[in-house]
């Protein structure tokens, strides 16, 4: 099996963390290649010529790009172990809808919270909080987004978890105060080895965010 599965990823990437969680849930081993997307390595360009971004999952030499697409691929290929997506078509559609919501709505304001200052940052914080509130309402009183079962949508959102502390710090708000139900949900997810092993250290992420702020002129 050696060399059959390779993951090109960058340690702070919330998207790479999703893929790592999914692979761990399936108990699949793979070779991890640390790839800085700011310096485009020849392998990255070869495997993701269109976007030149990580994560890239390479299975038997063939690349699969985009984290949510990777999650579906992993679930379909290793279908005999822990299911990531629900089997019911309607539940699947709901999981896909909310994962799409997360990527469409969270990513930009999350970036702006550490990447900008002043009015832009304030607007980003307001937007981010609004979207997290929507996600908390969607969770409701469920154990996981998947119901009783940790799955696709839980992974999609927990991918961002390492960055929550950075959002709190730069946005000057408390995740626990603003989103008590989401906070409880994160604690349940953190009981899973697949999640804990995939996540980056939150303080290292804050250091990295500072470096990005300098790079983009927000410091």
């Amino acid at each position: 099996m050696a060399g059959e599965l390779v993951l090109l990823d960058f340690w702070p990437s919330m998207f790479g963390m999703r893929t790592k969680m999914a692979l761990a849930e399936k108990g699949v081993s793979y070779e991890y290649i640390e790839t800085d997307p700011w310096t485009k390595t020849p392998l990255l360009i070869e495997m993701n010529p269109i976007h030149k971004k990580i994560p890239v999952l390479i299975h038997k030499g063939k690349p699969i790009c985009e984290s949510l697409i990777q999650l579906e691929y992993i679930d379909e290929v290793w279908s005999d172990t822990y299911p990531i997506l629900p089997s019911d078509p309607y539940q699947k559609a709901q999981a896909r809808f909310w994962a799409d919501f997360i990527d469409k709505k969270l990513y930009d304001p999350a970036w702006k919270i550490w990447g900008t200052k002043g009015e832009d940052q304030v607007a980003a914080k307001k937007e981010l909080i609004e979207h997290f509130k929507t996600l908390e309402t969607e969770l409701g009183d469920k154990t996981y987004y998947g119901g009783e079962v940790f799955g696709f949508l839980d992974i999609a959102l927990m991918g961002y978890y390492s960055w929550f502390k950075a959002m709190e710090k730069f946005g000057e708000f408390s995740f626990e105060t603003e989103f008590p139900k989401l906070t409880e949900w994160t604690k349940r997810c953190l009981e899973r080895e697949s999640v804990v092993k995939a996540l980056a250290d939150s303080d290292k992420i804050i250091e990295y965010a500072y470096a990005l702020r300098k790079k983009f002129g927000a410091e």
Binding site: I64, E66, E72, Y73, P89, R96, F97, D100
Partner: protein, 227 residues
Amino acid sequence: MVTGDVKLIGSWASVFVMRARIALNLKSISYEFLQETYGTKSELLLKSNPVHKKMPVLIHADKPVCESNIIVQYIDEAWSSYGPSILPSQPYDRAIARFWAAYVDDKWFIALRSILTARGEEEKKAAIAEVEERTDHLEKAFIDCSNGKPFFNGDHIGYLDIALGSFLGWWRVVELDANHILLDETKTPSLFKWAERFCNDPAVKPLMPETTKLAEFARKLFPKPQA
């Protein structure tokens, strides 16, 4: 498989609505089409899609499904024993189809739309160049995916054909508006021929809007600034 009535909230002019309708046609599903009035959003739309307040919304046995590509996948899965498969059968081919469908929406469509919203010749030229570059990527994707067959999905139209092909009406409208060919027989010959086959598919033909009618609608949606 859940039985139950099927409704689709949409508009004749919407690319995204067309995707859902093509998928329903492929599966021979009868449905009630609830045409939205331009400029307003119906109560049913707002209730069924409170998050984005956008069409299309598929309502199957009173349960709403939103986002066109998600609706197409839902139709394929909920009526899996009806008609041809819309997604490819192999996981890798499915991943590739999903990748390019996302590219169509996130990169190609954005560039196409920016031709219509461009202010001045310089902006328009830049937007056209971007569309040409991205269409070129799609030409290569077609050659890779189709493997010598007539459609991205092989012998029958599928997910990626629907994702891109639904734009063909608007593609022509933007060509007219820009006075510039955007689906070039010599530059992207495979896509050019595919486009004709796609439009002639029985699941597509009754749905593709007339170019002049769509161009008139486009003028309402993208008014030109007064000279």
